[in-house]
Symmetry: C2
Subunit: 221 residues, 2 copies
């Protein structure tokens, strides 16, 4: 299930259709997923389905998303064949996840893990800011340092035993974090090594970085 | 004060002397700093000073670092002219920080902030893992989600009123975080907007990303 139904509030446009290094953002992840998965369900904004943007060549099927991330996952799950044993959920704004990462996540679910989540260590110093102080005080909001050795930055594709993911989404709850929903069912999450280059395009500046990486990969011998 | 005295334990080599896009890592930050600062003190590993690696063209002076980050900062501060009003500390493993970022940090210290730290929002889901559980349990170590809206990832160059930074380093304490030392003196830290492209080269995979960005910038019209 490839999620690309966002409205791009922070990015400033429908980033999933932007061209980077000659292809649309969404087409990178769709192509990688199609190479390693039995099927690819792409979830697009409902109002994009009617336009020429509503096609993704590598997709098995394209469905309309909802007004929230959770609704879009539910819409995608409906289109996943009932006999699927493993379901991956991937963020369409991560064009650089490698086929090797997809394959490893799948293999670890097949090997018995209920939920597998790629994670990378955090290399920068992290502070937790005090938002309550930002309105009133200003500079005092620098917060406190969190021990970065304990922090992991989570990525997608995240892989799940199909029945667990379906069960997690049977309710009406909202989640930004599929693994958290599965965990709430009493299941353990396995963190697997993610990829530093597996960036999430959030701000338009990220596109420059992603494009540079993609061009570099394309010109590699 | 440009810190490049690390031994590259995680990177696997003395990364500061690696070539990326035709230049040594350390030379990028030194060149940017030289363009906007009155002087640049580069702190290198003591055993590199005797070799041909011990030269940095853009540096005002090159000094030998110590066995810890804090000792290297102290070694660098000794070489900063006594009449400096603003001192920046920058990590030599961040070749992509822009001159605009350096200039903004300097301007904000000049405008009255005791300490200025570039920070960017965290876009990935972050979990705090339970290291105590990793030895005994395994997959239970996926930890708990931290509200990412509250998290800021800190970068360099960090800017300080010169007397405050000198005072912070008068003791024998060790710190990975200059701003934290200044904060311990009762001073407030001002977070300023950092740059998503201002990556810290930590693992060798980061070099590929940084190189791609640098080549992209060089070929820009």
């Amino acid at each position: 299930v490839l999620l690309a139904a966002g409205s791009g509030q922070r990015f400033g446009s429908l980033k999933q259709f932007d061209l980077i290094a000659g292809h649309r953002v969404i087409d990178y992840a769709a192509s990688t997923a199609a190479a390693v998965c039995d099927g690819v369900v792409v979830v697009l904004p409902a109002d994009s389905l009617a336009t020429e943007d509503g096609t993704v060549p590598a997709a098995s099927v394209v469905v309309a998303g909802g007004s929230s991330r959770s609704e879009s996952v539910r819409a995608g799950l409906v289109a996943v064949p009932a006999d699927a044993a493993v379901i991956l959920v991937h963020d369409g704004a991560r064009p650089l996840a490698s086929a090797e990462l997809f394959e490893r996540v799948i293999a670890q679910v097949r090997a018995g893990a209920p939920a597998v989540v790629p994670a990378v260590r955090v290399v920068d110093t992290i502070r937790s800011v005090d938002l309550s102080g930002m309105g009133s005080g200003g500079a005092g909001s620098a917060g406190r340092v969190i021990d970065r050795d304990l922090l992991r930055s989570l990525q997608t594709p995240q892989g799940f035993r199909a029945n667990l993911l379906r069960q997690a989404y049977m309710g009406e709850g909202q989640a930004t974090d599929d693994a958290g929903l599965v965990e709430a069912l009493g299941q353990q999450i396995l963190l697997t090594e993610g990829e530093r280059s597996n960036l999430k395009l959030t701000e338009s500046a990220d596109r420059i970085i992603a494009e540079a990486i993609l061009i570099s990969l394309q010109s590699a011998p």
